[in-house]
Assembly symmetry: C2
């Protein structure tokens, strides 16, 4: 593991690190905020998964999350959204290839060689983070935005016991029925739609639910409401009697201004579980 | 004036606007955050001047200032750091020309035609902002980072009665004695150093001081300490018996992580004066 940068921030350290990823077959970069409390022993951690076109850097610099994580004494991990590099397949569209891993293990060419973001986030990166930093493995929570909200919800539901709580900002809620999903799942997983279902938050909510509280925030003026399909997830949460909240926030859009506005609520929500 | 974007943020609106600038002879862009209270009438305003290489956008997206401005009910203005465009002179160096206006009125070619950031910020942009938005002209404060800290301090001291309070993050504190200053003042103002003195915060503090409280934060691990020369300003504040605080913050560097960490203190500091 290589240290790219470390900046003191809110009494803790905002670091950026890179490492050779066996799973993705390339170097991967991630951001990690450690609060001051990490100097005295392991601290709880909140994973933040980013959306289309983002790297590890966007939320790290624009979401204001460190403010509230420092106050709560929680670490933050900001993974990248896909494998990257010259040898890694890509596409001209912003929503396929590099920057658009969709948190799945691709099985189709040209993607299968590197695009294994599910395994990267379910196994490889957690092992690296807990081995190298003062992170309490038994106190984890996860959140994300848009494509990253999709990733957070699907990882949380399919890895029971891993995360105490899950939240999402404007998640891609029903990708098997949306152009943000069908296009990518066809490319990465092939045309058999039964293989897509384990990567659809609405379908997983209906089938599995989550063993803990769920918080979803969605802006009512989001430009991408037709692609995100929040109504299907809200319905599934209610039908399942899932512990949780779905909040439609009047006037907010899909931007980091929306995320930053509700970040204190999300970190407070996770902190209540992580310090229970 | 043209609206580039408006995003709901912390209950208010983060807007970006552009306008034809008579002073700079080009189009200029600025960011403006209006808290929810602005719907009911004029609100106090805090000006934030950015550092070298920045546009109106950097602090707007990375400093976390809207969080605290919304809580306090204060507007924020994020001006650009120089004139811009194809017809505007520039230099290959990051610290001269576009992105490096240094908050002076240039008198030398090729800069004099457009680089008039002092008049832009002292006169033209305040008139535009107060004419078009619910801003209380008699409740203004100013802050900035690095080159912007230099701008904030020099504007505040040379426009007595305009600002109730002034603060700065790692300001260029003594540019007439630093390579961040001598190079630019020579280019923009010529070699007569007597014309530089009105643009040096340390010299102005010795000669004029400020009629209100001053807050300066400086990171002890800042890579640019030799260029910033904070010690000269700290000494001048103490010698003048200027109401204010100079804080050397252990371990912090020159980055936005440093700014974001102490932003709540700065906004609280200004709010105390703006709502007095």
């Amino acid at each position: 593991m290589q240290t790219i940068s470390e900046n003191k921030c809110h009494g803790g350290i905002q670091g950026v690190y890179s490492h050779a990823s066996e799973v993705c077959g390339c170097n991967m970069t991630f951001g990690l905020f450690l609060p001051a409390e990490a100097a005295d022993g392991p601290v709880p951690v909140l994973w933040y998964l980013s959306g289309l076109t983002c790297t590890h850097e966007n939320a790290m610099t624009k979401a204001g999350a460190q403010t509230w994580a420092a106050e709560a004494g929680i670490a933050l991990v900001f993974p990248d959204t896909s494998p990257r590099g010259n040898g890694v397949a890509d596409d001209e569209a912003f929503d396929l290839g590099q920057g658009a891993g969709f948190y799945v293990n691709a099985t189709r060419t040209p993607w299968a060689a590197h695009f294994r973001m599910w395994d990267y986030l379910a196994d490889e990166l957690p092992a690296i983070v807990t081995a190298n930093f003062a992170i309490a493995e038994d106190r984890q929570a996860i959140t994300g935005h848009s494509m990253g909200g999709h990733g957070a919800l699907t990882l949380a539901m399919r890895l029971p016991g891993r995360f105490r709580s899950v939240s999402a900002f404007a998640p891609i809620a029903h990708p098997t029925a949306s152009d943000w999903g069908r296009k990518q799942f066809t490319a990465y997983l092939g045309e058999d739609e039964s293989l897509w279902a384990p990567h659809d938050a609405t379908l997983l909510m209906r089938r599995l639910g989550f063993d803990g509280p769920v918080l979803i925030d969605q802006g009512s003026q989001d430009n991408f409401l037709n692609l995100l399909m929040p109504e299907t997830l809200a319905q599934a949460i209610a039908e399942r009697r899932q512990e949780g909240q779905f909040r439609m926030q009047k006037g907010y859009d899909h931007s980091y201004y929306f995320i930053a506005t509700f970040m204190p609520d999300h970190i407070g929500f996770h902190a209540a579980e992580l310090f229970r």
